[in-house]
């Protein structure tokens, strides 16, 4: 069944402003727009531009579940969200957030889909039918009796979608749903959303990965500093210009940082040797990976790439000893005086921040190495200079913005000058500008640390192209390629096999390294 978009209004927003409690300036300021039903709308803007706040207002969480001050009005299918009961709103609108792990309530797939329906007080036989239909629609029927924690990242995101869709909303709001998905998983999710839109669902999606989204969107709302600066067709030259002006689209300037892989005139020394490594979790039928062998020399920036669930993070965890491999061996070069062998920044960098100030955070490691006070001060100053903001030193680390926290976590790890720095998905959820800023910061820290090597996991080919000197590709439990980024990006068959690119999908700007489509030009596929 295909229904063409109609002119029926799904959302009416009039003069919406919202200021969070404890803040003086509004996060959303005087936004007015209306969205027709059965359309696909993209909300674009840099991190902190107010996208998530706007989605929360559209979901009725603001003002009903928030302590800040709201002005203006939001109407969903004729229902004013102010004072509306959560149950009444839940029947109209569903919200899917970035991290499915934090939204999953139950331990079994079937029960997760049923959760919302139980809240609606529907009879069990009706719930059973809805659960069956939703799981089938999202391709999760085979997982019905599985534990939710056994699903891959992409499956969890689809499970959240199934849970929301089972409740029969007319409007679906998605807050950065692609952030944690590999390219193939993202394409599959977008195709599913496209199918749902054709069946009559209205979709509003806030996302950084605009290359995948803009070709499908009917409309784009561009936010900059909380203000709605553009609202129109994604193929419109003015909208494109606004996207670039707001930092939602960034020119790709190519490689980030110097790529020297050896000291001047010296043969680079080996930092890590991995031979025939294998890892299998208890209770799992297959190993995460096996027969993994590679080496890393000083100065290298090695990307571990692969689809969700391919074992990238597990490989990093094995190197630092969080996970114990069942076979093979690893040899790490002994650290020189005043340095360490390995540094780690996990996917959630906040887990490494515990000091009262950024200064203490940066000084923590060097002090543990028993360096003298002058050397500690030098390293802190060096790291702060790489961060590019000396004013941060007196701030509590956990009070900084998300991007700043990540940079501080990397800098804190680098003050020990580890021979090998491990970064687990460092660019996940970052907009393009912040991603490039982070990688530039890492580059400066690498220069300061004198030939450390970096091993980082990612499924973002833009990061591989602009930052890595080598790529290791994990797929189906094996290390299937160890090559240069250029070789990887040229091997279409390998990229598809490893779910890093989808058949028929054109590489985006970051992967190609080309400039943005010229203004006024049609950067994407023809409009529907």
């Amino acid at each position: 069944m295909t229904q063409e978009p109609s002119g029926e209004s799904a959302i009416e927003v009039r003069g919406l402003s919202y200021t969070y409690a404890g803040r003086t300036s509004p996060t959303i300021e005087d936004a007015s727009f209306s969205l027709a039903a059965r359309r696909w709308t993209v909300v674009a803007g840099r991190t902190g531009s107010g996208k998530s706040t706007l989605l929360r207002a559209l979901a009725g969480l603001i003002p009903n579940q928030a302590a800040g001050a709201m002005r203006g009005q939001v109407t969903l299918f004729g229902l004013d969200t102010r004072g509306a009961a959560p149950l009444a709103l839940a029947r109209h609108v569903g919200l899917v957030l970035q991290s499915p792990d934090d939204q999953i309530v139950t331990t079994m797939v079937e029960n997760e889909v049923a959760f919302g329906l139980e809240n609606l007080g529907l009879p069990p036989d009706h719930i059973a039918r809805q659960v069956t239909a939703s799981l089938a629609a999202l391709g999760l029927s085979d997982c019905r009796w599985q534990g939710t924690q056994t699903l891959s990242g992409g499956q969890k995101q689809r499970l959240m979608l199934a849970s929301i869709l089972a409740m029969g909303p007319r409007l679906l709001l998605l807050d950065e749903p692609l952030a944690q998905l590999d390219p193939a998983g993202a394409q599959e999710l977008l195709e599913e959303l496209e199918r749902l839109r054709r069946l009559g669902l209205s979709i509003v999606i806030a996302e950084h990965r605009l290359d995948d989204l803009l070709p499908r969107a009917d409309r784009v709302l561009v936010l900059d500093g909380g203000r709605l600066i553009a609202d129109g067709d994604p193929r419109d030259a003015n909208v494109h210009s606004a996207l670039r002006g707001a930092g939602a689209l960034v020119d790709d300037d190519g490689a980030i940082g110097a790529r020297s892989s050896s000291r001047d005139g010296d043969v680079p020394r080996r930092i890590l040797d991995v031979e025939q490594l294998a890892c299998q979790f208890a209770g799992q039928p297959k190993p995460v990976w096996s027969e993994v062998s590679f080496g890393i020399d000083e100065g290298e920036r090695v990307a571990v790439v692969g689809a969700n669930g391919s074992g990238k993070s597990t490989l990093l965890a094995a190197i630092v000893g969080i996970v114990r491999p069942q076979a093979g061996y690893m040899m790490l070069a002994a650290p020189e005086a005043g340095t360490t062998a390995v540094g780690l920044v996990p996917q959630n960098p906040d887990l490494t921040l515990f000091s009262r100030t950024v200064h203490d955070e940066l000084a923590f490691g060097p002090r543990r190495l028993r360096l003298d006070a002058a050397e500690v001060a030098d390293r802190v100053h060096e790291a702060a200079a790489a961060l590019g903001n000396l004013q941060l030193l007196d701030e509590p680390p956990l009070a900084l913005s998300q991007g700043q926290r990540l940079c501080v976590a990397v800098a804190a790890a680098m003050t020990l000058r580890p021979r090998l720095l491990l970064l687990d998905e460092p660019t996940t959820g970052q907009d393009q500008a912040r991603m490039r800023h982070l990688l530039a910061t890492v580059s400066r820290l690498l220069v300061a640390s004198r030939n450390s090597a970096v091993l980082f996991s990612t499924h973002d080919l833009r990061v591989v192209r602009s930052f890595a000197t080598r790529a290791l590709v994990l797929h189906d439990g094996r290390l299937v390629a160890d090559c240069t980024p250029a070789e990887l990006l040229a091997d279409e068959a390998l990229l598809r096999r490893a779910r890093l690119r989808v058949a028929g999908h054109q590489p985006n700007r970051g992967e190609r390294g080309s400039a943005l489509a010229p203004e006024g030009g049609r950067a994407h596929e023809a409009p529907r």
């Binding site: 839940a90 891959s152 969080i322 906040d350 887990l351 923590f364 002090r367």
Partner: protein, 284 residues
């Protein structure tokens, strides 16, 4: 996947698949019994019963290891405190130290009360999915707000534990080596660092709680509203009989002890119940 790694799937045994209301009844029965019984034989029997049930739940060796550590700490703590403060017919364990053998033995016996309850409680929590546990608690009229908070805490416990492991590992990679009984070189005691390490775990938990609350609200969760249990709880086969047996046994035990205490206190005594009084005196 994060660097934390996946949580392992649990293989369920026959006993672990039983109706969660039956498991709750078991927990309540064990709790009542562990408070009521006083004889050493009954306490040992109660502990053995909970131990056998825990064995039948099919825990993994590492789960047993963790449970064993908890049980040992409880038994050790109770025995030690009783060994220190026992005042009747006491024999020093070690000359010169105020620790007494009779107190230690008494403490070990008394610790069986707590060990039985711990085994029964862990047995219920570790063998029942939070969603089923929630349905069972709601079915026995525990307020949704209370039961939901409890089962959600259980659901996220492994995540918090794994995050704590990442925090500690990251810290060790930055050169930290706990020296809990000696100040470090720069004068910062390791205890202060240990306390500080809790901060990122708590911060992550708060962020997660905020996300979860948002998700719950948009999915229509309202603790004040009635909700359906899906799939509906239904006992089958031997389960109703086991439930009846548990209820009757708990009731019989409570009645026997109550009558015994009334007789002991001289408040109510029936000669016809002398056999019951003797049984309660000797075995309960």
């Amino acid at each position: 996947m994060s660097i934390i790694g996946p949580i392992e799937a649990r293989q369920e045994t026959w006993l672990a698949r039983r109706d969660p209301r039956l498991k709750l009844a078991w927990l309540v029965a064990v709790s009542i019994a562990s408070v009521l019984v006083d004889s050493h034989a009954a306490l040992v029997a109660l502990f053995i019963a909970t131990f056998v049930v825990a064995l039948a739940l099919g825990w993994r060796p590492r789960t047993w290891l963790a449970v064993g550590v908890v049980l040992l700490i409880v038994a050790w703590g109770t025995a030690l405190s009783q060994a220190m403060f026992y005042y009747d017919n006491r024999t020093p364990l070690v000359p010169g130290l105020p620790l007494y053998r009779e107190g230690a033995v008494y403490g070990l016996i008394q610790s069986l009360r707590m060990l039985a309850m711990i085994l029964a409680g862990l047995g219920v929590c570790l063998s029942t999915g939070p969603d089923r546990l929630l349905a069972a608690l709601v079915a026995v009229r525990v307020p949704v707000a209370v039961s939901f908070m409890a089962v959600t805490a259980l659901r996220f416990l492994p995540t918090v534990a794994n995050e704590w492991a990442v925090v500690r590992r990251s810290c060790r990679l930055r050169g930290y080596r706990p020296r809990l009984w000696a100040p470090s070189r720069e004068g910062v005691n390791s205890w202060r660092i240990e306390v500080a390490l809790v901060v990122p775990v708590v911060a992550a938990a708060l962020r997660r709680a905020s996300t979860l609350a948002t998700s719950l609200t948009t999915r229509g969760f309202d603790a004040t509203q009635p909700r359906t249990a899906y799939p509906p709880l239904a006992m089958s086969g031997v389960e109703p009989w086991l439930l009846v047996a548990l209820v009757l046994a708990t009731f019989a035990l409570s009645a026997a002890k109550s009558l015994f205490w009334l007789a002991e206190a001289g408040l109510y005594r029936m000669p016809a119940l002398q056999g019951l009084y003797d049984l309660a005196s000797q075995w309960l």
